[in-house]
C-alpha cells in the first residue's frame, strides 16, 4: 500500500500542475445564449450584393523570366461578398503590362488571361483566390527600354452566384526585368584539313535570342591544342562572318572579346523567331603537326 501511494505522488503532482495551468490560462468561454420569449416572424428579401476584390498581389516582385521557356507568376486576392464568401462562385484574372490595360487581348508578349483562379475556403464574407500564369521569355520588360516606367499588373475579377462581378488590381505592381539571353550551337567541327589548307565551306553556329531583349554578341576564343602533342593552332587562324565568305574575308577570332552586331531584334513568339547564323572557317598553318586539335570559342550576349 505504502509503495502504491509513493508511486502515485508524482502523478498527483503532474495532475495538479495541469489543472493549475488550465486554470491559469485556458479560460474556456461558454457561449451565452439569451432566450427571447417575445418572438415574431419577420419577412425580408435579401438582395444580391456584387463582390469586391482587395489585397491583390502579383509576385514575384520583380518578375524575372527564364530564357527560352516559361516562368510561373502568382496573383493572390481577397474576394468579398456581403452575401457570404460562399456566394462567390468563380474568379478570373488578367496579368498584363500596364500600358496595354486590363481589356487587352491575350498576347504572350504583354497580356495573359487566367480563365479560372483557384478559390480557397470561405471565411465569413471573404474568400481567397489564387491565379497563376506561365509567362513566356519574350514578355515585354518594364525596367528599361520602350516600356520603362510601366509595370506588370494583375486584375482579378470575382463572380458571384448571381453573375454579379467586381474587380481589383495590385496597388504595388512589380516590374518585369529585361533579360539578355542566347542559345548557341554547342560546338564547331571543322573536319579534317591538310597543313596549309583552308576550310572549303563554312561551319555554322546559330545564335538564337532567347530572352526578352535584343542582343548582340561578343566573340573570343582560345588557341586550339593538340590532343596528342604540344602543338597548337593559334586562335587567329579561325575567322567568322555573318555570311559565308571566303577564308581571308572574315574577322579573325581573338583571345580578347570582340563585338559582332546581329540583325536579331527582341523575339515576339516562341520558339524564338530571332536568330543569326555565324559562319566560321579555319586556315591550317603550313607545317602544322598532324593530330586532333580542340579549343574553345566563347559567345557572350551583350546589350544591343
Amino acid at each position: 500500500m505504502t509503495e502504491k501511494v509513493k508511486k502515485s505522488i508524482p502523478w498527483l503532482l503532474i495532475l495538479t500542475l495541469i489543472v493549475l495551468s488550465c486554470a491559469m490560462g485556458f479560460q474556456l468561454g461558454v457561449p451565452k445564449i439569451k432566450a427571447d420569449t417575445n418572438t415574431v416572424t419577420p419577412t425580408v428579401t435579401v438582395g444580391n450584393a456584387a463582390p469586391t476584390v482587395s489585397n491583390v498581389n502579383l509576385t514575384p516582385h520583380p518578375i524575372v523570366v527564364t530564357e527560352n521557356t516559361t516562368t510561373t507568376v502568382t496573383c493572390t486576392a481577397t474576394l468579398t461578398d456581403t452575401n457570404g464568401g460562399n456566394d462567390i462562385s468563380s474568379a478570373t484574372a488578367t496579368i498584363y503590362r500596364s500600358g496595354v490595360g486590363s481589356n487587352c487581348s491575350a498576347d504572350d508578349n504583354n497580356c495573359y488571361k487566367v480563365a479560372s483562379c483557384t478559390l480557397g475556403t470561405a471565411s465569413g464574407n471573404d474568400r481567397p483566390a489564387t491565379c497563376t500564369a506561365d509567362i513566356w521569355f519574350h514578355a515585354e520588360p518594364t525596367d528599361s527600354g520602350t516600356y520603362e516606367g510601366e509595370t506588370w499588373q494583375c486584375e482579378v475579377t470575382a463572380i458571384d452566384s448571381q453573375s454579379a462581378t467586381g474587380s481589383g488590381t495590385d496597388s504595388t505592381p512589380p516590374e518585369l526585368e529585361a533579360q539578355n539571353a542566347i542559345t548557341v550551337t554547342a560546338s564547331i567541327n571543322y573536319g579534317t584539313l591538310s597543313p596549309g589548307a583552308t576550310s572549303s565551306a563554312s561551319e555554322i553556329i546559330t545564335a538564337t535570342t532567347t530572352g526578352n531583349a535584343a542582343v548582340d554578341v561578343q566573340l573570343s576564343g582560345t588557341d586550339m591544342t593538340s590532343t596528342s602533342t604540344t602543338s597548337t593552332i593559334p586562335v587567329g587562324q579561325q575567322e567568322y562572318a555573318l555570311s559565308s565568305v571566303e577564308y581571308g574575308s572574315g574577322t579573325d577570332l581573338s583571345g580578347t572579346p570582340a563585338p559582332l552586331e546581329l540583325e536579331s531584334v527582341k523575339p515576339t513568339t516562341h520558339p524564338s523567331d530571332q536568330s543569326d547564323d555565324i559562319y566560321w572557317r579555319i586556315g591550317i598553318p603550313s607545317g602544322q603537326d598532324p593530330g586532333t586539335y580542340t579549343g574553345t570559342t566563347t559567345v557572350d550576349a551583350i546589350a544591343d
Partner: protein
Amino acid sequence: MKFKISLILLLVFFLLLFSWINLAFGFGISPPRVFNDHLIPGAHFEQTITLTQARPETPLKIEVIIDAPEIEDWFEIKPGKSFTIPAGVQQFPMKVSVSVPKDAGYATYQGKLTIRAIPAEGGEGQIAVVTGAVADIQLRVSGEEFSDFRLKGVDTPNIEEGDPIKVVMKLENLGNVKVRPSRVYLRIFDQYGQGVVEEGEATGMNWIEPFKTGKVIAKMPNKLSIGEYWAEIEIYKDGELVLLDKRKFHVVEKGALGKIFGFHWWRWVLVAGVILAGILTWKLKLWGKALAKLGIRIKVEKIKR
C-alpha cells in the same frame, strides 16, 4: 524481326533526341546591368542578377569576370567568382555587392561583368562553344544626397481590440539617405465600405537604410470594436500621393491572435513542459530525492480499525 526493327527505330529516335538536346545551349542574365547613379563615398549596395537556363539537366559551372578598371575591388560576388548551379535549377540568384571606398573620387565609373556558363567539354577535334552574357556596369559617385523609394507591398494585418491599426509597407530605398514615407493617412470604413468610422494619421514609422529593402510600420490608435473594417490608405512621398488603396482587416478580441486550437502557443508549451518534466523525473526516480532534500518525508501507516 519486327521487334528488332522497332528496337532500332526506337534507338535511332532517342539518339536523334539526345543529339538535338546537345545541339544548343542557352543561358541568360536578368537584369543585364549594375547601374547606380546615386552613390556617395562609403556607400554600400547589393543587387541580384538572376542567371537563367531553360534546360538545367546537369550542374552548370559559372565563371564571373569583372572588367572594371579602378573599381574592381569594390565588387564582391556571392556565392563567389566561380561556382556551380545545381542540376534542376532554372533561376539562380547571384548577389553583386558593391562597397564604395570612403576616399572614392567623384566620377562615373564604367565596366563589364561577364558571366560565363561552362558546359561539359566538346568532343575531340571540335571547338566547344561556351555561352555567356555581359552585364554593363555604371556607377556614379557624387556628394549629392538623393532620396527616393519604391513601394513593393502594403498590408493592414488583423489587430486585437484596443491595439493600434498597423500599415505594413515593404519599401525599397533607392536613395543614399535613410527614407520612409512622408505621411500615411488612414480612413477606416465599416465592413460594407460605406461610412467612415475613424480617420487620422498613422505615425511612428521606422526608417529604411540607403539601398536596402525592408518593412516600415505605421500605427494609428483607434477605438474600433470587434468586427470587419476597410482601411483606405494614403501613402505620401515628399508630400506627393504615391499610393491610394483599400485593404480589409479584422479587429478581434484581446488575446485572440496567435492562438493554436483556441489557445496561445505558450500555454501549449507550458502544459507540454510540465508533462515532460513529470515523466522525466519519474523515470529518473528523482521525486523521492527531491522531496527528501526539501525535508519532506512521507510516512504511510496502516490505519488501525
